[in-house]
């Protein structure tokens, strides 16, 4: 007992020393700053900034640089605004932790059944009743502050803070981008759709789509080559990716996101006037034959409407004829002109391309840790809800505080006081928010009105 008294005296001395060391003006500013409303205003300005900025910076021609999806779901790059919003949210989170700490300190004092109400923050619910029923005293005993409650609240704030920090930080870097790669195509750079103009970013390696399998479960087989390797050198990485999976290389991650007909990836279907020939399908840079013993051709280019008037056309190269163009319109004439080659262009169609997402490699631990803290805090607050009940003998006041169970707790208090109640001795004052004192008249409550903290308090 004596040891406990010494410990209490030591603690109060420490607190007094700490209070004396803090500038009273700063302390006053801090205590005014950590009000829920101020924190709410900071969150509100940050939220308005995030909601309005994409609308204000919407590009005039959003589709020019888009490969897949829409402007709404494609990357948006505005690090300056993100910095402003991140600063506001960070400041608000620090203030929220300060507000929580004040509540923790108050809850520690709330262990005392009787206390001075002027030192307490504004109660969520006040009930003036004399004498205070014994059941309420039991409730005060059973609703002592639980450390795990504060651990839960701190975990939630820390978890959201960590996730938000990672969210803000990751978007300061190169944003994710969709890339369409046709079958057999090799890419060395990709385009990031920014507000003013698309940004071309170089890849650290060449990426080739070797094979694209369609169907209910599409797969893409990709090859990744080192820079400087000969074109016929073996790839350094070969992967067959089901939809939704990816591979990391040199700080980048390429993920196979889906398949779609590409507007700018075309392929041509050829036939031949020569006997014993079969139609052939070719993409750009593919080689093909139209007869078993015939010459080999290479497709160099495909246009939907050559020079805007000539219609579909394909540029072909062969060892015998060199480079030449074949036109669909000419191929379909009843009397074909003598072009010196038997190839006809049947049609040009959009090619199915693999849609890949390119992102910089990001660590998973902030998401893992932040998500775990958030869920842990959520669970702790459900299992160990904050319930603070205090009584005051002088005015018979019963006061409660709770973050998320105030309504239920207030109901319980009213229920308990209604048992064996002589109604003319009781008065109830509902004290949330700006409840006017005349909402429920209280003959005896007028005595405690002057000492009621909620009349001038602002704390939640």
């Amino acid at each position: 007992m004596a040891r406990r008294g010494r410990r209490r005296r030591s603690r109060s001395t420490r607190n007094a020393t700490r209070d004396a060391s803090v500038n009273p003006q700063l302390q006053r500013i801090w205590s005014h700053a950590i009000q829920a409303q101020n924190i709410g205003i900071l969150f509100g300005v940050a939220g308005l900034t995030l909601v309005l900025t994409p609308l204000l910076r919407r590009p005039d021609d959003a589709s020019s640089a888009l490969v897949a999806g829409s402007w709404w779901t494609s990357a948006f790059y505005a690090p300056d605004v993100l910095g402003l919003a991140a600063a506001l949210v960070g400041l608000a989170l620090v203030m929220m932790l300060g507000m929580l700490w004040v509540r923790v300190e108050f809850a520690g004092r709330a262990l005392k059944k009787e206390s001075d109400p002027t030192e307490a923050p504004a109660a969520d619910f006040t009930l003036a009743r004399a004498p205070i029923p014994a059941t309420i005293h039991d409730l005060v005993e059973s609703s002592r502050a639980n450390t795990l409650t504060w651990v839960g609240a701190a975990c939630m704030v820390a978890g959201v803070g960590l996730l938000a920090g990672d969210w803000f930080y990751s978007q300061q870097k190169l944003p994710p981008a969709y890339v369409a790669i046709a079958n057999g195509e090799v890419i060395q750079n990709y385009s990031v759709p920014l507000a003013k103009a698309p940004l071309t970013a170089n890849l650290p390696r060449r990426v080739r789509l070797k094979d694209l399998q369609l169907g209910a479960e599409p797969t893409a087989s990709i090859q990744i080559f080192r820079v400087g390797d000969a074109p016929d050198a073996p790839p350094s990485i070969v992967r067959t990716l089901p939809a939704g999976t990816g591979v990391n290389f040199d700080g980048l991650r390429i993920t196979f996101s889906g398949v779609r007909a590409s507007d700018d990836k075309l392929r041509a279907i050829f036939s031949s006037e020569a006997p014993k020939s079969v139609p052939a399908v070719a993409s750009i840079s593919n080689k093909f034959r139209v007869s078993l013993d015939g010459p080999e051709y290479k497709l160099l280019d495909v246009r939907k409407n050559y020079l805007s008037v000539m219609g579909p056309a394909a540029e072909i190269e062969s060892s015998e004829l060199g480079k030449f163009w074949v036109f669909e319109r000419t191929s379909h004439t009843s009397v074909s002109p003598d072009l010196g080659h038997p190839i006809q262009l049947d049609r040009v169609e959009s090619e199915m391309a693999g849609i890949f997402t390119l992102t910089t490699v990001q660590p998973f631990w902030p998401i893992s840790l932040g998500g775990t803290l958030f869920v842990l805090g959520f669970a702790l607050l459900i299992i160990f809800p904050e319930r603070i009940v205090r009584t005051n003998k002088d005015d018979g006041g019963i006061r409660i505080w709770s973050f998320h169970e105030a309504g239920k707790l207030a109901d319980h208090i009213v229920d308990e006081t209604m048992v064996d109640d002589t109604v003319d001795q009781t008065s109830i004052k509902h004290a949330i928010a700006d409840e006017e004192p005349d909402a429920v008249e209280a003959p005896e409550a007028t005595k405690s009105e002057s000492s009621d903290p909620e009349s001038n308090g602002d704390s939640p």
Partner: protein, 256 residues
């Protein structure tokens, strides 16, 4: 059978809404009956919400009916559950079930199939957004109950009145709804990570989602414990300055 499954979620939302609405019917033992009905409605809401979220996450549910049904269930999930002291039919709490009911019915009325590669992203955002909006709507409904309670006065001064702390209930539910919104953002982050290996697509949809969550949190905190109009005035001045600044091109970093 596969066509019926997506319709199951709107049906669940309607069932839960009807259970909540039934609390307004006079009963012999209203306290116990209303409490059980409300708990059943909220339980059904959570079951539908989790089923829908899992189905959408795994790609099994891709129809508009499933999406809208999940939204309705989310609205039910955050319905007032603490009406433990309902000494009379809880009309206010039951009225909150009207919105999930309307949402559930619309899942049967409207037909929209979402397919294709860009639709995956659209569906993902739509689902998250729908759950978030449902939670916010329920929070607003709960807040409205709180305000309506504040305006209530004792009818007869001779008869003592025990005002039910409905405003506190409303605040509790608003807090839960906001937390549900942040929770859905966490799910969105995990889905993004699974799909593209990044925390976010950094798209306007992501920005709007986080911005709206911050605004919802802000609203909750500003009206947490209203003691004077001082903070509301500050908030209005902030919003007005920001709006005018944007309009006149003030250098907030917002205008390029």
């Amino acid at each position: 059978m596969t066509d019926l499954l997506p319709k199951l979620l709107p049906a669940i939302a309607i069932l839960g809404s009807l259970a909540a609405l039934a609390t307004a019917i006079p009963k012999k033992d209203p306290v116990r009956a209303n409490k059980n009905l409300m708990r059943a409605a909220v339980g059904v809401g959570w079951a539908g919400l989790l089923t829908g979220a899992f189905g959408i996450y795994t790609g099994y549910l891709t129809s508009f009916a499933a999406l809208i049904g999940t939204t309705g269930c989310a609205g039910l999930a955050v319905l007032p559950m603490g009406s433990d002291r309902a000494s009379q039919p809880d009309i206010a709490s039951a009225s909150g079930a009207l919105l999930p009911l309307a949402v559930g019915v619309s899942g049967f009325v409207f037909e929209l199939k979402i397919l294709g590669e860009p639709a995956d992203a659209m569906l993902l955002y739509a689902a998250q957004w729908a759950i978030f909006c449902a939670a916010m709507t329920a929070a607003l409904v709960a807040s409205a109950f709180g305000w309506s309670h504040r305006w209530a006065r004792a009818k007869d001064n001779d008869t003592p009145t025990y005002p039910r702390p409905l405003a506190l209930h409303a605040r509790d539910f608003a807090l839960r709804a906001v937390l549900l919104g942040w929770f859905s953002w966490l799910v969105l982050i995990l889905i993004h990570w699974r799909q593209i290996g990044a925390i976010s697509m950094a798209s306007p949809a992501d920005w709007t989602m986080v911005g709206a969550l911050l605004l919802a949190t802000s609203t909750l905190l500003i009206f947490w414990s209203k003691r004077s109009v001082y903070f509301e005035i500050i908030f209005v001045v902030y919003a007005a300055v920001l709006g005018l600044g944007i309009y006149f091109g003030a250098p907030f970093g917002l205008i390029m």
